[in-house]
């Protein structure tokens, strides 16, 4: 019997320990990076079970590929992982080139590496800005987007598009780099290492950031492999695996770079891996810049690669080839390939199956975000509600790629 009269709404009620509550997080939640819905079963503030619900952005892209000619498919790939469009372009065109058994000129290969590594930095910058924003550090976002803007300007200078460049073509590139491009990349390169150090000053030593990330979202190396994690998420769990190293493409084996690996298996480790990766990409860009020598950027395959604009006006056969490629497309020998590359988020694999015609019979994208997200329930078991936000941020998902 208490002496004080407590109004009923403030009365302390003994809640049975097994009382659980199911809440829906998203699809409009800002920290779900798009339209991801999580069905969370909570016990107090502790997450008992998290079930991702995806498909809100499903646009049937894989179906669409089957109705488009091979070269028309490139623009669809841009719209999957819209933070790493050049990586998607590369995976797709390389898969088709493998079917066609095309040889790509060296300059085109080097430019592909150069652009993809710039794109990787840009993708990691968006991840860093939004990840920090989710956790509560707002100013990092502006620093990241300042640097990303420079990269987008470079991509725009080369391809004409910022978010959807479609710069790579089957057999090479859309066109050569504009004049003065090397100088502009050099300018970006000069300031970038200082910018990464700035990010470190803003976040790495920050005690709140450390408390929010260390020991959160732990997944062991064994589980990470079992769940199919790839990219920085896998390397954050201490597995030294990078497709650029183990199955090299675009002569990545000739570039010198380290594959950052962290042993802590938590959100912090994944943060450190990506921070170090940006510097490695910076190194690769510098090497690629040094290798740029004049030369062709398109393969010598007139039935596949569009001819030069000038040649079209003066040569009859160039005009015919141009007409045939645009109007009818080109036939790709029957067969199937699975081509994996190291996207900014992990192993980006493209499966292309051809039945011999100008349109693919089946195109399937193994999106790293899709697979990484499937491990979220495993990582978030027993975590606090607020940690979910940190874990989603550390997975670096893009819903466009998950839902396709």
């Amino acid at each position: 019997m208490s002496a004080v009269n407590i109004p009923p709404q403030f009365e302390i009620v003994d809640r049975p320990l097994d009382t659980q509550m199911t809440i829906s997080m998203g699809p409009q939640h800002p920290s779900t990076h798009g339209v991801l819905r999580l069905e969370l079963v909570l016990d107090g503030e502790m997450v008992v079970k998290a079930t991702p619900d995806i498909g809100y952005l499903h646009t049937g892209m894989e179906k669409l590929f089957e109705y488009k000619k091979y070269q028309q498919g490139i623009v669809i790939t841009d719209r999957m992982d819209y933070l790493n469009p050049l990586g998607n372009n590369l995976a797709y065109v390389m898969a088709v080139e493998k079917l066609l058994e095309l040889e790509i000129p060296e300059r085109a290969q080097t430019i592909r590496v150069l652009m993809c590594e710039l794109q990787r930095i840009a993708s990691h910058l968006v991840w860093l800005g939004t990840h920090a924003l989710d956790i509560g550090a707002m100013s990092v976002f502006f620093y990241c987007f300042r640097e990303r803007e420079k990269i987008l300007n470079l991509i725009e200078a080369a391809s004409g598009g910022r978010l959807t460049p479609s710069y790579f073509r089957i057999g090479g590139l859309m066109m050569d780099l504009p004049s003065g491009f090397e100088r502009r990349v050099g300018q970006f390169q000069d300031g970038f290492i200082k910018a990464v150090d700035e990010f470190h000053v803003l976040l790495t030593g920050n005690r709140i950031f450390q408390n929010r990330t260390k020991g959160v979202g732990v997944i062991t190396a064994e589980d990470a492999i079992d769940w199919g994690l790839s990219g920085p998420c896998l390397r954050g769990s201490g597995v030294d695996l990078d497709v650029r190293r183990v199955n090299p493409y675009c002569s990545y084996e000739t570039y010198e770079f380290d594959v950052p690996v962290e042993q802590d298996c938590d959100v912090w480790a994944r943060y450190m891996v990506r921070m170090r990766e940006m510097k490695e990409s910076h190194k690769i860009v510098a090497q690629a810049l040094g290798r740029l020598k004049p030369g062709p950027v398109k393969a010598d395959a007139p039935k596949v690669v569009l001819p030069d604009r000038e040649a079209m006006k003066t040569h009859m056969d160039a005009l015919i080839h141009h007409f045939l490629i645009v109007a009818e497309g080109f036939d790709v020998p029957a067969g199937e390939v699975y081509h994996p590359i190291e996207g900014s988020k992990g192993e980006l694999g493209v499966y292309v199956k051809s039945d011999g015609g100008p349109k693919p019979s089946r195109v399937h994208f193994r999106g790293p975000s899709f697979v990484n997200l499937s491990a979220l329930p495993h990582m978030s078991e027993g975590a606090m509600m607020a940690d979910i936000v940190a874990i989603i941020g550390s997975l670096d998902i893009v819903l466009g790629e998950i839902d396709r």
């Binding site: 049937g60 199937e336 019979s361 089946r362 399937h364």
Partner: protein
Amino acid sequence: MSTGTDSDNNLPESPNRDLSQRLTPSQLVTAFGRQHPDWVSEIREALGEITLVVPAAHIVDVCAELKSGAETQFDFLSDICGADRGVEEEPRFEVNYHLFSTKKHHRLRVKVLLNEGEAHVPTVTGVWRTANWHERETFDLMGVVFDGHPDLRRILLPDDWQGHALRKDFPLRGYEPYSLK
């Protein structure tokens, strides 16, 4: 046992482990096919990729063996994707499992061919947990049923969606406007 410096000169080394490391993936797969003749119906090599065609009934055994085998060690399931070979074709569907080894760094495609009437495959979620979402996606878009899957629901399309969108007889533009009921 010879030490490392001695064995550098003479190529045929004695320890089995070193020999197996030199086996190319195609040799490995051929050896695998010889060990388990019932499990492998065909081995294809094209464009630098190896495909192992397996009867649907044995897919779990094959995957478990490829994962645990000392020489194969395919511990990483990259991808599962279904494909429709065409309405007229028989077997109409195929399911491709893209395997990778994080230790040996080689890749392999395991393929299962399915007739239209019996588009059922046993699930491999018991071998790799990552198969869960891949199989759900294949079920959702291709209509292949994975028997024994712990949670076989649609994943990308709504629960009450009719049909399977990636089948060749499913039109690009729908039968009728879809409305949320």
